[in-house]
Amino acid sequence: MATMTYGEAGKQALAEEMRRDPLVWAVGEDLGRGGVFGQYKGLVEEFGPLRISDAPISEAAILGAAVGAAMTGTRPVVEMRFADFALCAVDELINQAAKARFMFGGQARVPLVVREPMGMWRSSAAQHSQSLEGWYTHIPGLVVVCPSTPADNKGLLKAAIRSDDPVVYFEHKNMWALEGEVPDGDVTVPFGVARTAREGRDLTIVSWSATVHAATKAAETLAGEGIEAEVIDLRTLWPWDREAVFASVAKTGRLMVAHEAVQVGGFGAEVAATVAEHCFKDLKAPVKRLGSPRVPIAYAPPLEDMLRVTPEKIAEAARAVVSES
């Protein structure tokens, strides 16, 4: 175990995988100078510019070329810089990467990791702040990963790089500097296995990415009021750990989902709908979602803050759920 940041943990994972497998390589703008958030700092010195490759400002080519390179026996890790810019490469991800294996009847494999730093971060405004993880859960062929801790950013990135299918990998910009214990060596975290961030008997709060921490804080507040919330960190949205959620709801009888993405059409709807479908008899109160309002993300700090899913908002919503039954 060592203490390191979320960003460093990701870097360690990539470096370890690159040492293990010479076919792993990374490509994106400015990687040779460490990447825009320093996530690649020092790697070009170890691996050279062919394997830690700069790229032109060509998101579509970065992703599209990675599809071709993945189909031709390498394992590219592509850096999209901001999840928002991945919107310049959607055909490449959705029509090509996600479908190639199926469409070609299993002839193609696309072992590709698409790193998409996501979320609200310091007045980054409408085009640099989005959380679009929900979109990719809707696309057959894609794995969707949203690590919330340094340890998971190591273990899940390693698993993503080893995946023979394309993985959309969301790191939250607000967590780069978050510190935590990270297991040494070759530890991977499997897809589809949730983490219980906190146990509780009264209410299940499902979350992922940075919002897990807000949910955990909310749970601490609630504990002071006698409400014991169980916080489940999904870690991966596809596949997602239905069994863990169902088991928790069977115990608590109440479900809330909290995420930073816009609530309408977000992945919270999938979780809430699935629980409503499958745990009807267990539910003592209506399921509840908490996400962003359906507005673009504003620049001015107070307007940006207004959209954040905070511990306070989560606690308030949780109280309402508990008091409804």
Binding site: L23, G68, M71, T72, F104, G105, G141
Partner: protein, 336 residues
């Protein structure tokens, strides 16, 4: 009467040209069978025939090795055959049958045979340009001496991937060959009307990719241009670009009667179609008409049999619909 040897230009490799002629006929006959399948409603999805463009498929692919990579467009049957794919498996794929190259899951627009390095036709215009750039990138990373080739239409040069993909190949000096089949049309639109500037070659050159223009209905010219380009690429010279001028003798799809172009124009184009042109060269070089007619007959017989086989082939089992989606997560209804 044997043709006097003097009538044969010295540099004609008759065997190579005979093989081109045979392959061009196989492509034409395959396309005709595919059109027939469309008429008989055994293919419901769109079929984009490459009739009239066979010389490009053949002239380019005869310069690629089996382990070289090819990616293609919606109009990809000819390229796939020329790269060495099995016609029987291809026709089964077009009819959506078990035993198809992709178990019937891709169909005409996604025809692929990874065994022969054919990484797929593509339903999205120009998308294969990026894929080829990436395949070439992988080849370079792996230190191999292979070439990745992308064939696309003149309409594709108006999409971003043309710029991004060629720039990519140039910046990384990748072993990539880009071939533009300039048939004058993008679907029902004359591409000239929607294309600014002097054309595909100038665009490639402006991206640093050396370009040549050839008569795409002259298989010898295409063969030669591709040979030079592939040699330069294999020698480490970075990407190359070929524009091959041709004409799409059919409608855009099997369903398109192409009323938007005058009959005269099409008739004129038929007078320059590549198979007859090559046949003339071969005849002039003393090859017997019977030999050439034999190629046509053999090709038709082969493709008739191929079509009959596909018609008789079973549907893929329904389980195929859930296979090869992804390793993680159960995609089935009820599993979520």
């Amino acid at each position: 009467m044997p043709v006097p040897a003097t009538q044969v230009p010295r540099n004609l490799d008759i065997d190579r040209l005979l093989s081109h002629h045979r392959l061009m006929w196989r492509i034409r006959a395959f396309e005709e069978a595919a059109l027939q399948a469309n008429t008989e409603k055994l293919v419901l999805g769109a079929i984009h025939p490459s009739i009239g463009q066979e010389a490009i498929a053949v002239g380019v692919c005869c310069n690629l090795n089996r382990d070289d990579i090819l990616s293609s467009t919606h109009r990809g049957h000819g390229h796939t055959l020329a790269k060495g794919a099995d016609a029987t498996a291809m026709m089964r794929e077009l009819l959506g049958r078990e035993g198809g190259t992709s178990h019937g899951k891709g169909g005409s627009m996604h025809i692929a045979d990874f065994e022969v390095g054919m990484l797929g036709a593509n339903g999205v215009v120009a998308a294969n340009i990026h894929i080829t750039a990436g395949a070439a990138h992988a080849i370079r990373l792996r230190g191999e001496n292979r070439v990745a080739c992308s064939i696309f239409g003149d309409g594709a040069i108006n999409r971003g991937p043309f710029l991004e993909g060629l720039n990519w190949a140039k910046v990384f000096e990748l072993p990539a060959l880009f071939v533009c089949e300039d048939n004058g049309f993008a679907s029902t639109t004359r591409t000239a009307a929607m294309t600014g500037g002097p054309g595909p070659a100038a665009r490639a050159e402006a991206l640093g990719v050396p370009a040549v223009e050839v008569d795409g209905n002259d298989v010898m010219a295409v063969d030669e241009a591709a040979r030079e380009a592939v040699a330069a690429i294999r020698a480490g010279g970075g990407p190359r670009f070929i524009v091959a001028k041709t004409y799409r003798l059919t409608g855009h799809t099997a369903a398109d009667a192409a009323p938007y172009r005058p009959k005269d124009e099409v008739d004129e184009a038929w007078r320059h179609e590549p198979i007859a042109r090559l046949a003339q060269v071969l005849a002039d070089a003393g090859v017997k008409g019977a030999v050439l007619a034999g190629h046509e007959r053999d090709a038709r017989e082969e493709m008739d049999a191929v079509y009959a086989d596909a018609k008789a082939a079973p549907w893929p089992p329904l389980s195929r619909g859930y296979e090869d989606v992804q390793d993680a997560g159960d995609p089935r209804q009820g599993a979520f």
